[in-house]
């Protein structure tokens, strides 16, 4: 009988696997829970970099995510903008990965603004606080162009000032006095594709780079982070969750002894306790545990099955 049991464990029909997975990823969503967590270094550096921006500084943001990765990228995008808005930053957004990306980014910001309106907070206005420079096909070449000759690359691109026809983006407050990529104290890349590599190839060394990448890209991004080609990154859902926690409690804040999140490398970086910090990360992260647990159990089951089967064959 052992053999049979082994065989069974080894070869559960796929539909059953899939059904279990659906359950594991659905049910926990209805029961939000708080998960203890320690942010990873790279995310701390990422947060530190954002918080170190002087108020009102100009940031170049390459937004290369679309609906297909909204699960991860949208969370990162929202958190990053919540921070940028607090830093009163001015953001120039462009995309190089996907023609849809500019629209998706735009919609995400509009969504944020609607929420802020409801709370009667000042909105983050198009043209005055951020411009949408649009999509540049052929990422590799486009990023090269932007790195070598920003004026030329963005030249002739238009965006909408408040209820008036489109105008040249360089007229907007965001790009006032910007002529080259070095004029931005920071370049952010929120991407789900290898456009981050191109950014490293062309931009690193000209201006600091910070990435928000999807979980699958964490390994390759770690390479750049180690060789100090980028100052920090926020990887996958864990990164988003870390970021949300950092926003909530800062680093070594209010002081190192009592701080919830400590770091020897970084000084004190303030946080902004605010229920609004909790976003996708906080919503999805608990559920992720069940999914991962399921995965581990399945792998173990498979192996147990294999051994039982072997034993079965012998006897």
């Amino acid at each position: 009988m052992k053999g049979n049991l082994g065989e069974k464990l080894q070869s559960l029909p796929k539909p059953i696997l899939y059904l279990i997975l659906i359950l594991a990823t659905s049910i926990p969503l209805f029961f939000p829970t708080e998960v203890p967590n320690e942010p990873v270094e790279s995310t701390k550096d990422f947060y530190a970099t954002l918080m170190a921006l002087p108020e009102g500084s100009k940031v170049l943001l390459m937004s290369d995510w679309t609906g297909s990765t909204r699960g991860e990228s949208k969370g990162a995008f929202r958190s990053i903008f919540k921070i940028l808005i607090r830093r009163k930053a001015k953001v120039a957004i462009y995309s190089a990965a996907d023609p849809q990306a500019p629209r998706v980014a735009q919609d995400a910001i509009n969504e944020l603004n609607m929420e802020r309106k409801r709370k009667n907070l000042p909105t983050f206005d198009r043209w005055n606080d951020w411009v949408n420079i649009g999509y540049f096909p052929n990422a590799e070449a486009a990023i090269n162009g932007i790195a070598n000759d920003l004026k030329g690359a963005f030249g002739g691109r238009k965006d909408f000032p408040p209820n008036s026809p489109p105008r040249d983006v360089f007229q907007s407050p965001v790009l006032q006095g910007v002529t080259k990529v070095e004029d931005f104290p920071l370049m952010l890349v929120i991407t789900a594709s290898k456009t981050s590599n191109f950014a490293v190839e062309r931009v690193s060394g000209r201006t600091p780079l910070a990435f928000a990448v999807t979980g699958v890209m964490v390994p390759e991004t770690q390479v750049f982070y180690q060789s100090k080609q980028i100052v920090g990154y926020c990887g996958g859902l864990k990164g988003v969750y870390d970021l949300e926690q950092l926003m909530e409690s800062g680093v070594n804040f209010p002081d190192k002894a009592t701080a919830k999140i400590k770091s020897d490398k970084l000084g004190t970086i303030e946080g902004f306790p605010d229920p609004d910090n909790k976003g996708q990360g906080t919503r999805y992260y608990p559920t992720l545990h069940y999914a991962l647990a399921l995965m581990i159990i399945m792998i173990i089951l498979g192996n147990v099955g294999m051994f039982l089967a072997k034993r079965g064959d012998k006897s």
Binding site: K14, P15, Y18, L21, I22, T25, S26, L29, F30, S68, T69, R70, G71, E72, P99, Q100, G134, Y135, P137, E140, A141, N144, G155, G156, R157, K158, S164, P165, R167, D168, Q171, N197, V200, E201, R202, S204, T214, G215, V216, V218, P219, V223, Q226, S227, K228, Q229, G235, G236, L237, K238, D264, Q280, R283, Y284, T287, L288, A291, L292, M295
Partner: protein, 244 residues
């Protein structure tokens, strides 16, 4: 309405997990159609308009923005593009190689340009010291409650454990790299050993990659589930029903 459509489409595509069926086939073709349509739109609105047409014919002056001149030479790209269409001609299909050749030429030229930018810094970052600079302690001492000076002192040292890690790191890079040497006949046991080790170390790396990737994949599934159960069912459908 919009969300409902999204949910149905999602379920339609999921149904392939059970088996290839008409429902899936329907949405597959809708998907392909929409995608193709979208590409046709984006082709002009996102690519050719700004990058080709406006540059070729120029743009008029507008509030704040100066007029730009047209550069007629861009028109030359039309015939080059057209050459691609000879691919279906039995006799002249070779002509389609010209536009391809141009694109490949541009690509290749860029490789020469970016190779060192990409790999130079990585080679540099691989050159890590593999002997400790201090023997005060074998591992990095805990840094809690140190003054900044002491801290920087500690950080500027290389401890035994770090040295070992650096050694492992370099070893991995080298052995993996040597595993990919194709044209050297490996006779000596030592080298063979290094290669197999390279392969094993590679597997550790792959395992780690797999782990980190799983997170993302599940996250996206969770997002879908959130979309179906919370956004659609709980916040969309229930209120509607209970409303009536």
């Amino acid at each position: 309405m919009r969300i409902t459509a999204g949910v149905i489409a999602t379920i339609g595509l999921y149904s392939v997990l059970w088996k290839e069926n008409k429902f899936y086939r329907f949405f597959e073709h809708v998907f392909l159609g929409l995608a193709a349509g979208w590409t046709m739109v984006a082709l002009w609105t996102e690519t050719l308009k700004a990058n080709w047409w406006d540059k070729m014919v120029g743009t008029p002056a507008e509030t704040g923005a100066a007029a730009t001149n047209g550069m007629f030479a861009y028109a030359l790209l039309i015939p080059f593009g057209l050459m691609g269409y000879f691919v279906f001609s039995k006799k002249h299909n070779w002509i389609s190689r010209i536009p391809i050749g141009i694109i490949l030429g541009l690509w290749s030229g860029q490789q020469v340009q970016v190779w060192w930018n990409t790999y130079g810094p990585q080679i540099d970052a691989t050159l890590k010291p593999i002997l400790p600079t201090t023997w005060d302690s074998l591992i990095v001492p805990s840094t809690n409650g140190l003054t900044p000076e002491q801290l920087s002192q500690v950080q500027s040292q290389i401890y035994f454990s770090q040295a070992v890690n650096n050694f492992l790191f370099t070893l991995t890079v080298v052995s993996v790299l040597s595993y990919f040497l194709f044209s050297f006949e490996v006779k000596s046991k030592a080298v063979k050993g290094i290669n197999t080790m390279g392969r094993y170390l590679l597997m550790i790396g792959f395992g780690a990659i797999f782990g980190s990737t799983v997170m993302m994949r599940f996250t996206l599934l969770i997002d879908r589930m959130h979309f179906i159960w919370i956004e659609w069912l709980r916040d969309g459908v229930f209120p509607m029903i209970s409303g009536r």
